[in-house]
């Protein structure tokens, strides 16, 4: 009858709430912003609470060892002497090694799935890669002990020692268990995260960009490199950081294959120990307030390392060059 009934039900009359900048604001927008902001605040609050709990828990250890905790290498619960440097090294080295393996492979898989694969192959392969994420950590660990480590010990490490043995990375006793095994298992575990999110990101890039480049005569790789990747850069970096986070925090699988010796060695064959592993290994049995406090401090240090690596990653992205972020072309 009246005009309003023919109009789309999405349209509502505007309200008269005025924000302080004089913009007329719909009450729906107001509520939306506040609700989502409060939930975002929840995330911040959860993190702050965890950080606070860890600082509180590690108070005793912080006061006793101070900065020496980060530089000392001796971890001796019998004598109540604690130093976390080998764990810091182990965590950073294993995570970076995992990224070295996982990022090229994951981005390659993502490009394959979004650009190169024929339509009938995309579904199954994408689905299989995501299946990697569903395998429980414990199962990866056991597979690592019974399949990966023996394979490394018998086939890979001798080969590396023969061909690249002059490098300090490939020297020392070959046991199968060690930094290399840890890095590989972590890489396998973070590949589904990075590749799935990257694939979605690449898929979300409007095809007009790709088609534009192709129309100008680019090969498909050039089209991806010039048109798709820059647009998707923020999303890809986000995917990689998620993968990095997972690598830093992984506990079960890596502790089963990394050898768990708190030593710092350049060799990939040598055993190592990560911060998450030491917490998982020793927390259940730890008794004694200084011991528990030292473990809490290791958790706090892991926090700090995560923060630092995140900052470095963001800085790298920023330095490489600022391009318009996705969505605003």
């Amino acid at each position: 009858m009246s005009v309003s009934q023919e109009v789309s039900p999405l349209i509502r009359p505007r309200s008269k709430i005025l924000t302080r900048f004089g913009h007329e604001l719909n009450w729906g927008d107001f509520v939306f912003r506040r609700v989502t902001a409060s939930l975002a605040m929840l995330m911040l609050a959860a993190l702050a609470a965890m950080a606070a709990a860890m600082v509180y828990g590690s108070a005793e250890s912080l006061s006793k060892f101070g900065l020496g905790f980060v530089t000392a290498q001796v971890w001796d619960p019998v004598r109540d002497v604690y130093g976390a440097l080998p764990f810091i090294y182990g965590t950073i080295a294993s995570s970076l090694l995992a990224l070295c393996f996982a990022v090229p492979i994951s981005i390659g898989v993502a490009i394959f799935l979004s650009e190169l694969a024929p339509a009938w192959l995309r579904g199954p392969v994408g689905f299989l890669v995501e299946l990697l994420a569903a395998v429980p950590s414990v199962v990866y660990g056991l597979w690592g002990i019974f399949v990966l480590a023996p394979w490394l010990r018998n086939s890979v490490e001798p080969l590396l020692a023969r061909t690249l043995g002059f490098l300090p990375f490939f020297q020392g006793q070959q046991r199968g268990f060690g930094m290399l095994a840890g890095g590989i298992i972590l890489a396998i575990m973070i590949t589904p995260t990075i590749s799935s999110v990257s694939r979605e990101v690449l898929r979300a890039v409007p095809s007009s960009l790709r088609e534009g480049a192709l129309g100008l005569g680019a090969t498909s790789w050039e089209a991806v490199r010039v048109a798709v990747l820059p647009y998707a850069r923020s999303g890809l970096v986000g995917a990689i950081i998620l993968g990095l986070g997972r690598a830093l925090g992984e506990t079960m699988a890596i502790t089963m294959v990394i050898g768990n010796r708190s030593e710092i060695s350049a060799s990939l064959f040598a055993p190592s120990y990560t911060m998450a592993s030491v917490i998982a290994n020793e927390f259940s049995e730890a008794t004694g307030s200084l011991y528990l406090s030292a473990l809490a401090e290791v958790g706090l240090l892991l926090f700090v390392v995560t923060v630092l690596l995140n900052v470095v990653a963001r800085l790298l992205v920023w330095r490489v060059g600022r391009l318009p972020e996705g969505g605003s072309l």
Partner: protein, 281 residues
């Protein structure tokens, strides 16, 4: 020597084969792990597995029915507590993330994704279990949701940011309020991608053991409701796998296989649900 075109073509072929090689490389460990789990676990799958309670060593039969139900409960709780806040927080970051507050939230999501699952478990232990003085499925669900939150949030944010502005502008041009445009248009378009991120997070937490040890504990019997300790597949897998007994190992592998199938099922159903809503692009 080579024409410029030949060089370009060569690079193209090189990169394309590298991508194919990457896909193959990524699938090799999967095939190996799947083969390993299936070959060891298929023998343990039987009707008894799905209907009976665990039996101690030396007694034949026994299954993990309570663990299966427990995992479903825990995943449900994790999704309940983790998905709505995660998606909404992600929407906030996509819309208003350029503010200083938004930057801090994004940063904290990234940092939180790196917190080891055992730390989250200990945190929720002191938050929930010590206050209620008992272990419960509720505490387990909370711990898992905390693990899910960063992944869901960041994935939602990144995918929402990638939806072309033209869609939003079109909606706004029709007079749709901004919030409605975000929910009905942007979110719907990004939904399949967000579903992927959500399923990734769910797949990960469905297989987590460490946070459950101090929160949901475990239970050899059925647990009723949400306030009792509950058995779960990952914890059972862990307990059985680290035991000395071959028959328990077999059950652990069978449970791992069932867990994989469960996550697969969730994955497929999530895809189906989302696909229906979006329709053909």
């Amino acid at each position: 020597m080579f024409s410029r075109y030949a060089r370009r073509k060569f690079t193209d072929v090189l990169v394309r084969s590298a991508c194919v090689a990457a896909a193959v490389l990524a699938l090799i460990p999967l095939v190996s792990v799947l083969y390993y789990v299936t070959s060891r676990g298929i023998g343990g799958i039987s009707l008894a597995f799905f209907s009976e309670l665990p039996k101690p060593v030396g007694e034949s039969g026994g299954g993990m029915a309570n663990a299966l139900v427990g995992t479903c409960k825990l995943v449900f709780l994790a999704c309940l507590f983790g998905i709505p806040p995660g998606v909404l927080a992600g929407m906030y970051l996509a819309e208003f993330g350029h503010t200083r507050f938004g930057k801090w939230v994004r940063f904290s999501a990234d940092v939180m994704s790196g917190v080891p699952s055992i730390t989250v478990g200990i945190f929720v232990y002191s938050l929930v279990v010590l206050q209620t003085k008992h272990f419960s499925a509720f505490a387990g669900g909370v711990a898992l949701s905390v693990l899910m939150l960063p992944t869901v949030t960041r994935t939602t944010e990144e995918l929402l940011k990638l939806v072309p502005e033209s869609l939003r502008e079109a909606a706004l041009g029709l007079g749709v309020p901004k919030w409605r445009a975000t929910l009905s248009v942007m979110l719907r378009t990004a939904a399949p991608g967000i579903a992927t991120g959500v399923m990734l997070a769910v797949a990960r937490v469905a297989g987590e053991t460490a946070p459950l040890l101090f929160t949901a504990f475990s239970n050899p019997f059925w647990s009723s409701g949400l306030n009792e300790p509950t058995a779960s597949l990952p914890v059972n897998i862990y307990n059985y796998a680290v035991s000395p007994y071959e028959e328990w190992h077999r059950q652990a592998w069978a449970a791992a296989l069932v867990l994989l199938l469960l996550v697969l099922l969730l994955n497929v159903s999530a895809r189906l649900l989302v696909r229906q809503r979006v329709g053909a692009p």
